[in-house]
Amino acid sequence: MNWLNAIIQGVLVGGLYAMYATGLSVSFGVMRLVNLAHGDLAVGSAFIASTFCLATGLSPFLAIFVVLPLSALVGIGLQVAVFNRVVGVDPSYQIVATFGLSIAIQNVLLQQYAANPRALNIGDFGNRSLKLVGDDVVIGLFPLSRFVVAVLVLVLLSLFIGRTRIGRAFRATSDDPDIARLMGVNIRFIYAVAFAIAVTTVALAGIFNGMQTQFSAADGPALLIYAFESVIIGGLGSLWGTLCGGIILGIAQTIGAEIDPGWKQLIGHLVFLIVLLVRPMGIFGKDELR
């Protein structure tokens, strides 16, 4: 067994999980909305990227630049059409609306793309790796760059929320939406921006996932679970906590897989449950968005 390698791979996978989770963290932090269609939006984006690549013959990396602006628009559209109606009312409406959206997206994907899995082909780049510590540790170039991008996204988002005028309005809205409105904050605009960010980040995560493994129309809920677990382990509303949560989940899974390949998922879920028992507010849990 090679523990060091397992841990490093876990950290790299954790970056991807954190990116899945970022959008959930933001939408919960700003508007107390739990979006059950989060994973399906990731899968949908991967399918759209795949369609783009098949139609144009261009690299999936270029597809990112097409899909992400589209995702932002989809996010704003969903906020205006669906979520503005369920924010700030009885949470059961949110569950019904987002669960319904999840089913709708899955079925549209199934109808459009059938049940066959797809993948985004990034060619040779997916196979290149760096060998360290006398060949004991193998770091794939793609997982490494994916991790770097994930951290970069979190740094930018954290600067945006911490330092800008709109970011301040995000936090004020999170603290007290009624008073934020009274201060002249257009909270519908804030919600639309928050949701655009949520969908864009999860779309990027979905494409990154599709560059490494196959995906199919029904994969969304499984991705949602990883995102949830990362957010809860790290602590609701804390972006850096979400990164740590993703990394802890990733390490738990790779160590589980190192013990027995069948244990990958199991150990991940167990670690999640242990955190939930021992520290229900999560490792960095505070009642705020930072």
Binding site: R168, R171, I179, R181, G184, E288
Partner: protein
């Protein structure tokens, strides 16, 4: 000249009507008090002026124009700012950030960060402190400062004295004339009548959602006020 005129206002929350046929007038630069017991409708009145409560019937005229159909942020842009009951500062933001949100509307005027810190020196040394770490008096000062950052023409003060030590209340009320001196009109809502009455030229007393008494504070006797406040026949 009249800055704010409320005509025959009825308002409430959903099925529940809290205000019945309220009329009041506020001249530019003046200060008026709205007093009354808990549940009399004082906060609802301020909230309907600020735009966060549904108006059932009646008119609210601000600076010669009806504002009944305007959103809260549109009313703020015209110069109506509310200091809400219970202070409701943004807890996870610093003092400085709270003031920045107050200035979110970008209304121009004399008020800025420096002037707020000058008027409320207790805030000046706490600029980077998280708002939930402030004392009650400091939070109230911050709530007023935050509202001032929008350079209001009309400042609505909802229960400034609530839950604060008398000495702190006195201190805050000493600052209010400075706010008026900038040309800002004030409406005080208080359960504790003395401070509010002594700081204003005209007073309205609410009882069960209706105006039970109005007049200049100097013309109103203690008995009249007690009767209008509690709704019992003291002055038989």
């Amino acid at each position: 000249m009249s800055l704010l005129e409320v005509r025959n206002l009825s308002a409430g929350y959903g099925q529940f009507q809290a205000l019945f046929d309220i009329s009041l007038n506020l001249n530019e630069g003046a200060a008026i008090a709205v007093i009354g017991a808990n549940g009399a409708g004082k906060s609802t009145l301020l909230k309907s002026i600020a735009g966060v409560v549904d108006v059932i019937f009646g008119e609210i005229i601000f600076d010669g124009e009806s504002i009944v159909n305007l959103q809260p942020h549109e009313r703020l842009n015209r110069g109506i700012a509310l200091v809400p009951e219970g202070r409701r500062i943004f807890r996870s933001l610093t003092v400085d950030e709270n003031l920045s949100i107050g200035a979110y509307s970008r209304r121009q005027g004399v008020w800025n960060r420096e002037l707020v810190y000058e008027v409320f020196p207790m805030l000046a040394k706490l600029t980077d402190r998280r708002a939930d770490k402030l004392s009650g008096g400091e939070q109230q000062a911050l709530a007023i400062g935050r509202a001032l950052m929008s350079n209001p023409r009309l400042l609505l003060l909802d229960e400034v004295s609530l839950g604060l030590a008398p000495i702190i209340v006195k201190k805050l009320y000493e600052i209010l004339p400075r706010i008026r001196a900038t040309g800002c009109s004030l409406i005080y809502v208080e359960q504790d009548t003395n401070q509010a009455l002594s700081a204003s030229e005209y007073a309205y007393c609410l009882l069960e959602g209706q105006v039970s008494l109005e007049g200049k504070p100097s013309d109103l006797s203690r008995e009249q006020i007690a009767s209008a406040y509690f709704g019992i026949g003291v002055n038989k």
